[in-house]
C-alpha cells in the first residue's frame, strides 16, 4: 500500500463514532483531524495554520515570497458513517503533490496554498460551505445563529473548536492574491469506471433544484370503484414519474430523480387519494435545468388535468451551477493527456466547495474513479494506482501551468 493510502487510513481514524467514520464540522474529531493535517502540511514544507472558520491552510511560497497563490484543496468533514476518500483524498493528494515538488527542488511562478475545508457536507448545521465561503468572502454572519440538532449554535461550536467567529470576515482573500482554485475529488458516480478511465476533468458543478409535488385525487374502496370512475393519485404520480424520466433522458447531462414518495391513506385495499413525491433536478447548465423544469411542470399539469387530480409543485431548494474555468481545466486536461490518459470532461452532479470558491476565482476539478460510483458509505473505494495517477497529474499540472493562462475567468 502506498504512503498516501496509508495516510488516508490514518486520517479516517479521527471519528466522532467508534467503528464508523463520522466527522462533523467543528467536533473534537474534526479538531484532531485538522491538527494532523496541519502537521502533514508542515512536514511537507508549508507554513500552516487552522483559521478562524476551522479550515486548515498551508502555504508554499513560489520562486519569490508573496506571489499570488493557486489554491488547491478539498474538505475533511464527512457525512455520518462515511467513506474515507470523499474530501479527504483531495486534501492529502494536494499535500503529497506539494511535498514531491518541493523534494525535487521545483520552484513555481506562484505560491500554492493547500486548503482543508471543514463544512462541505452540511451534515451538522442547516447551513453549508461555511469554511470556503469565508475564504471566498461570501460568509454571511447571520448563519452563526444556525443550530445543530443538539441545539448548539454555529457561533458556539466555533468557539468550542477554538476558532474565532469574529475573525471570519477577515479570512476573505483579496482577488489579486488568488489565481484559482483546483480540487481533486472522487467522482461519486459510475461514469469513469464505465469508461475505463482513472480520472476526468469536471466541466461544471451542476446546479440543482428540489421540488415537493403533491397530488390530490379521490380515495376509494379498492373493490368497489370501477377503473373508469377512479381519480387515483398514485396512478397519476406513476405517469408523471415516467414523464420526468423521459424528459431527463432527452436532456443531455441533466439528471432527474424521484427519491421519496408517499401514498395516503396507504392501505392495501384503498385507492390512494393523496400522493407526495420529491423531485431533484440537476444540470451543469442552469438554462437546461430550467427548461426541464418547465417541461416537467407542463407534463404534470396535463396528466393531472386528464386524470382529474389536483397538482401542486413547490420548490424547496435551488443552487445555480458553477462553471469550471476553461483555461484552468484545459491546463489540467493537458496534464491528463501527458499522463497518456484520454481526457474526458464530465459534469459534477454533486456539490463541492467550488460552488463557493467560484465567487472568488476561476475553479477547476479533477475527478478520480471510484468503485461502483459509491460514496457517502463505508464501501467507498479507490485504488492506490488511481490515487497515484491523480497525484502525479496534479504535480505535473502545477509544474507546467502558467498563471497567465487563467485570465479567462478573471
Amino acid at each position: 500500500m502506498s504512503a498516501l493510502m496509508e495516510r488516508l487510513d490514518a486520517l479516517a481514524r479521527f471519528s466522532d463514532e467508534e467503528g464508523a467514520l463520522t466527522r462533523l464540522y467543528l467536533t473534537p474529531s474534526h479538531r484532531a483531524a485538522a491538527e494532523a493535517v496541519r502537521g502533514w502540511m508542515e512536514e511537507a514544507g508549508m507554513t500552516a495554520a487552522i483559521d478562524a472558520a476551522g479550515s486548515v491552510a498551508g502555504r508554499w511560497e513560489g520562486r519569490v515570497a508573496g506571489l499570488p497563490a493557486l489554491l488547491v484543496g478539498s474538505h475533511i468533514d464527512t457525512v455520518r458513517d462515511a467513506g474515507r476518500y470523499d474530501g479527504n483524498f483531495g486534501v492529502l493528494a494536494a499535500i503529497e503533490a506539494v511535498r514531491r515538488l518541493r523534494a525535487e527542488g521545483v520552484g513555481l511562478p506562484s505560491a500554492v496554498e493547500v486548503l482543508a475545508f471543514g463544512d462541505e457536507e452540511g451534515a451538522r448545521f442547516p447551513v453549508t460551505l461555511t469554511t470556503s465561503r469565508a475564504i471566498a468572502g461570501t460568509f454571511d454572519p447571520a448563519t452563526l445563529a444556525a443550530v445543530d440538532p443538539a441545539g448548539v449554535s454555529l457561533r458556539e461550536a466555533l468557539a468550542g473548536f477554538g476558532a474565532d467567529p469574529q475573525a471570519i470576515p477577515a479570512l476573505a482573500r483579496r482577488r489579486e492574491a488568488v489565481l484559482g482554485y483546483v480540487e481533486l475529488h472522487i467522482e461519486q458516480g459510475p461514469v469513469l469506471e464505465a469508461e475505463g478511465l482513472p480520472v476526468g476533468v469536471v466541466s461544471a458543478i451542476a446546479g440543482a433544484a428540489r421540488y415537493a409535488i403533491t397530488l390530490h385525487g379521490h380515495a376509494g374502496h379498492a373493490g368497489t370503484v370501477p377503473m373508469a370512475l377512479r381519480r387515483d393519485a398514485l396512478a397519476a404520480a406513476a405517469e408523471m414519474m415516467l414523464a420526468i424520466e423521459r424528459i431527463a433522458r432527452a436532456g443531455g447531462e441533466l439528471v432527474a430523480t424521484v427519491g421519496q414518495i408517499e401514498a395516503r391513506p396507504g392501505a392495501v385495499n384503498v385507492i390512494p387519494g393523496e400522493v407526495r413525491f420529491s423531485l431533484d433536478l440537476r444540470s451543469p447548465s442552469d438554462a437546461a435545468r430550467e427548461a426541464a423544469r418547465a417541461a416537467i411542470a407542463a407534463e404534470i399539469g396535463a396528466i393531472a388535468a386528464r386524470r382529474a387530480v389536483h397538482p401542486a409543485m413547490e420548490r424547496t431548494y435551488e443552487a445555480p451551477a458553477a462553471v469550471c474555468s476553461p483555461a484552468l481545466s484545459g491546463a489540467l486536461e493537458a496534464a491528463v493527456a501527458r499522463a497518456g490518459i484520454r481526457p474526458r470532461r464530465l459534469p459534477s452532479g454533486a456539490g463541492h466547495d467550488g460552488l463557493a470558491m467560484v465567487a472568488l476565482c476561476p475553479i477547476a476539478m479533477l475527478f478520480v474513479r471510484c468503485k461502483g460510483g459509491i460514496s457517502h458509505h463505508p464501501a467507498e473505494s479507490i485504488t492506490a494506482a488511481d490515487a497515484e495517477t491523480a497525484v502525479a497529474i496534479l504535480g505535473d499540472f502545477l509544474r507546467h501551468w502558467s498563471p497567465d493562462e487563467v485570465s479567462d475567468a478573471r
Copy 2:
C-alpha cells in the same frame, strides 16, 4: 325522518368509542347492539336469540311451522370510525320488511330467518366471517386461537361475550332446512349514484387476491449517476403501475389497485434502490382475475428485465369469487322492476358474508345507492327514500318469490 333511519341512528350509538362508531366483534358494544337487535326482532314478531358465535338470529315461521327458511341479513360489527349503514342497514331493513309483512297478515310458503352477523369486517382478529362460517358449517376451530392486538384470543373473547366456543359447530344449518341467503347492503361504490339508480342486484361477490411486489435496483447519488446508467427501482415501479392500470382498464369488471408504496432509502437526493408496492386485484370472474395476474406478472418481468432490476411478486391473500344465484337474483330483479326501477346487475368488489354463505346455499344481494361511493367512514350516507325503496323491494320479493325458484344452485 323515517322510523328505519331513526333506528339506524339508535343502533349507531352502540360504540366502543365516544364520539365515533367503532363496534368490533365480541366487544361490550357489540353485545349491547346484539341485545337491541334481538329486542327489535322480537318486537317484529320473531323468535330471536344470540347464538354461540355471537350472531343474532330471529325466526319468523311460514304458513306452517318448521318449513325450510330463507335467510336474510347482514352484519352489525363495524370497522373503526365507521359509517352507520354498512351492515347495520341490511339487518334493520330485514327486520322492518318482516315486521310489515307480518303486520299485513301475510303468510309465506317458507320460514324467514333474519341474521345479524358479527364478524364481517375482520377488524379485530386476523380471521373473519366467523359468524357466517358457523352457520354455513365451515367454521374452523383452529381459528379460536387467533388473537387480537391486545393479546385476547377469539376463544377468550367469545367466552367474555357470553357465547360458547364449544357450541359453534352445532350452529351449522342443515342444507335441507335452508333455501337461500339474501342480503341488503350499501353499494360502497359510485356506480348506482353515477347511473341515477337507487338499487342494483349483485351478480357476484368479486374474488380477490393481494400481492406484495418488491424490486431491487441500485441506489445511487441523485447528482452523479447519468440517466443511462441508472437502475432506478421507483422508475421501474412507475412503469409497472401504469401497466397494471392498463391491464385492469381492459379487463371489464376487473379492478386493480396499488394502495401502498415505499421507496428506499427514501432520501430526496438518492436514486431508490428498492421499492415495495402492494397490488389488490378483484373480479367477479376468477378466470379473468387469474388472466390479469398472469398478464401483470409478464409485464413486471419484462419491465424489470429491460431496466435491470430484480422483481419478486408474492401472493399474500386470495379468496375466490362467490357467484350469486341466477334464480334468487332474478326474483330480486323482478321485484326491482315491479318498483318501476331499471334492473342493473353489478358485481360487488367488497367482500360480504355471502362469501361464507355460498358454501351452504344460493345467495343474492341487493345494493343500495350510497353518497359518493363512501364507506368505512363517518361520512357514509344513504337517503331515507332509497332506504324505503330497498325495504319495499325486499318485502315485495319475499311476498312473491317461490321456494321452487331457487333450485338452480342446489
